[in-house]
Amino acid sequence: MLAVLLALVGWLIIPPLAVLLFGSITDTPPAVPPHFTLDTLHYAYARPRIWLALAHSVFYAVATATAVLVIGGFLAWLVERTDSRIRAFADLFALAPILMPSVLLISGWILLLGPKSGMINLIARDWFGITDPVLDIYSFWGMVWVGTLQELPLAFLWLWPAFRAMNPDLEEAARVAGADYFMTLRRVTLPILRPTLVGSWIIFFIYSLGALSVPLLIGLPAKIFLYSTEIYLAYRRVPSDLNIASAYSLMFLLVTVLSIWAYRRATGDASRFVTVTGKAYRPRLISLGRWQSASTALGIVLLLLVAGLPLFVLVWNAFLPYPQAPSVDSIRHLTAKNFAAALDYEPAKRAVVNSLVLGVAAGVFATLLGALIAWLSLRMKSARRWIALLDQIAMAPLAIPGMIFGVGLAWLYLVLPVPIYGTRWILFLAYVAIHLPFAVRICMSGLSQLHPELEEAGAVAGAGWLTRLTRIVLRLAAASLVASVLYVALRAFREYAASIFLTAPGTEVFAVLVLDMWEGGNSNILSAYVTMVIVFLSVLAFVFSKMGRRLGISA
């Protein structure tokens, strides 16, 4: 079974990456006999344009990762180590990215800060008479702004446990030794958190580098080309140049591998940081005193920025014939026509159905694989090296930008005589591969709570491994498995970076359709469409959380 699993997971993940190398050293399109040459690589990297884009990308990713780390870290500190009231609503930060997929967040911010029709600029014009745009989203810092807001909730959820795990005694020991707050922070708190902070920064950096939605929706109109934009443009060019796209992707892969290496190095000496622990840490919270209301205000403002304002502007625009600042006059223009128009648009309806069906299907399959991998890692005592390899391959997509998978899969199934290019199947494969790491982790945490004796009792009772797995393990771990399916389905709904290379007429998916609608559409109809989808998603999320509580899921 291990061999089958290894082959299956290996096939899902390795060929789409390996084919990029093949594409880079040929100059022939996928379906024809290959002609090997170094011209592709030479051509791709001889142009100064690509190096400029890389510089832009690195600068963008450094700025975004730094901002996200500072704000997310501060928020995590407030929530975990002070008596800030943000704690009471901190869970909303987990909810925000579910209701506001990144394409919607960006759409919302374009509608807020667009130079001509952004609501904030319209308010400045109509209410205060300022004719020049106050803030222009179509700029480098506009990209960093939206990129930061887009990653912030995830960064906060990533950093929160680190602050929770730190023994407060370590800081108190410094205070007692005579250090003031600042010295404690500089000499004790920050150095102890350093591996975590550096590691987190690298993860945020990789995500920012691989992001495609901000570069496409904001960078492209602003004529600021990032590296990911160049890959996309090479692919979208007519005729599509997959060789160049592959050559560019190769560099991305290299940067990613280097970053992972740096990440390992940064967090590798973490064993040095294991110390004797005392009683379970009592929450000893720093009293904020008169800063209390400021911290609450900060929490609310951040929630408004990452979800509230964009949500509001999307809903507002959904009911208007064209973008307007809120006013008595604009209320008279309110209309439901946009909704009718959105419902008339066939691809829009198809996209929601496709995204849901693909998400759930990929969720079920990824969970099946994830549960098997988790079960083997936890229980199987022989062939540990092969299991470690399996785990590493399965976790690899966590660090690899989705768009690389998109380009690779497109290549692969244009070369192979398997006719799934342009069908839903190729999207299915992409979603399974990209989300496998999450499924493995969720299943792992669920299964690790099952005591091995429960299975051993089954074995003693005469049950073979398959019977034990299906009759005992999967039954007991049902809640985690359902959580894993839902989580993958929700993430798949947001996915655009791989999908954009793989969709075809008839197989549209939601996030890509929103990107397309920005290219050639009416932003008010777009708003009506996404408003309906958000309502639909909220209802789903509500129903699932009700069901989840019944099943005992707390995901």
């Binding site: 108190e172 020991a173 007692v176 030794a177 005579g178 000499r187 102890i192 110390t275 004797v276 009683k279």
Partner: protein, 363 residues
């Protein structure tokens, strides 16, 4: 010297405010070793953390070496970094990103004191760790980390030393050894020490004075000898372990008091009247061979256990009296023959009635 007056502290637990410290008063003489002993949750660590300045009391006063560091009435609250204290945490709190040397030198640097290198090495010498100065904390054993924590606590010559259950993470043999070493160090350095523990063995072997605590209040404050031989409260007697608690009706008698119990008359040198609780240490229950007499009772053997140096015997007192525990060196006793025991009047202590105040008093 540490002086604590009328210290109160409330905690929010669920919806109600719980009194964690209820008017605590005590003074620790300079150079002495004072222990707070009690079960977990009794408030002993809270007192220590209030003295350190890591927790803010709701009321009262704290004075360290003549300086008022906390006074609710005057609004004084000196932050921990300016109280000149040394503290050993239960988890040791050795900074994992620093070497042993850097850990120990930190208080000197933070307080901008002179001779960092010599004094750090001297402190490491004191705990016998000078050879490991350049190691990182996680490369040390639990006992070694404990020594680093101790060196760090004493290096800056603090006015008081606060020890928060420092031995509870060590195994039994090492704990015994460290107990002895801590007492020796105390005798050498003469630092005013406040020690918190739930282990009566540690408290008895190291302290000059012990405060037994329960539910945020002091039950009894005494020297280890007094507490062991003649505790005044049932709680302290129980907490120090192995006590026989008997009850009866006291009246004046020839030796002082005669107590009428279920199993007969028991004479005591102490004075009391009315219903009382009595306390007899197991080692003061003597097995005698001869017949009846004052304070002698015929018992049957219920169980016996061998303890190495001692044999612990459970004896059933006559007339449906309680089971008495006895520690003796005599060889195995036959279970079918009754034994005669004697408890001398000077070994029958009278306990004062327990404070029956409920624990979670909402305010």
């Amino acid at each position: 010297m540490i002086r604590v007056a009328n210290l109160t502290k409330r905690f929010q637990a669920g919806g109600e405010r719980v009194l964690a410290l209820d008017g605590i008063e005590f003074t620790i003489e300079s150079h002495s070793f004072f222990t707070l002993l009690g079960p977990s949750g009794c408030g002993k660590s809270t007192i220590l953390r209030c003295v350190a300045g890591l927790e803010t009391p709701d009321g009262g006063e704290i004075e360290i070496a003549g300086q008022t560091v906390f006074a609710s009435a005057q609004g004084i609250n000196v932050p921990p970094n300016r109280r000149r204290i040394g503290m050993v945490f239960q988890s040791y709190a050795i900074w994992p990103h620093m070497t042993v040397y850097q850990n120990v030198a930190f208080p000197l640097e933070a307080q901008r004191q002179a001779d960092v290198r010599t004094r750090t090495m001297a402190a490491l010498d004191t705990v016998g760790l000078a050879a490991l100065a350049d190691r990182y904390a996680s490369r040390l054993s639990g006992g070694q980390q404990q020594r680093v924590a101790f060196a760090r606590a004493i290096v800056a010559e603090p006015q008081v030393l606060l020890l928060d259950e420092p031995l509870s993470n060590l195994d039994a043999a090492l704990r015994d050894q460290m107990c002895g070493e801590l007492r020796k160090l105390h005798e050498r350095l003469r630092l005013t020490t406040l020690y918190v523990t739930h282990d009566q063995g540690e408290a008895l072997s190291m302290s000059d004075r012990i405060a037994v605590m329960r539910d945020g209040r002091f039950v009894e404050v005494a020297t280890p000898e007094e507490l062991w031989k003649s505790p005044r409260t049932e709680f302290a007697a129980h907490f120090l372990g192995g006590a026989n608690i008997l009850s009866g009706e006291a009246n004046p008698g020839p030796a002082g008091t005669v107590v009428l119990t279920k199993f007969g008359e028991l004479h005591s040198h102490h004075h009391a009247k009315g219903p009382v609780s009595l306390f007899v240490r197991p080692e003061n229950v003597a097995l005698v061979l001869t017949g009846p007499g004052a304070n002698r009772f015929e018992c049957t053997v219920v169980a016996q256990r061998f303890h190495g140096d001692m044999r612990e015997v459970e004896l059933q007192l006559p007339h449906g009296g309680p089971v008495l525990r006895c520690r003796t060196r005599t060889p195995v006793l036959s279970t079918d023959r009754p034994v005669i025991i004697e408890i001398r009047p000077e070994h029958v202590e009278v306990l004062s009635p327990d404070d029956a105040r409920p624990r979670h008093q909402s305010l």
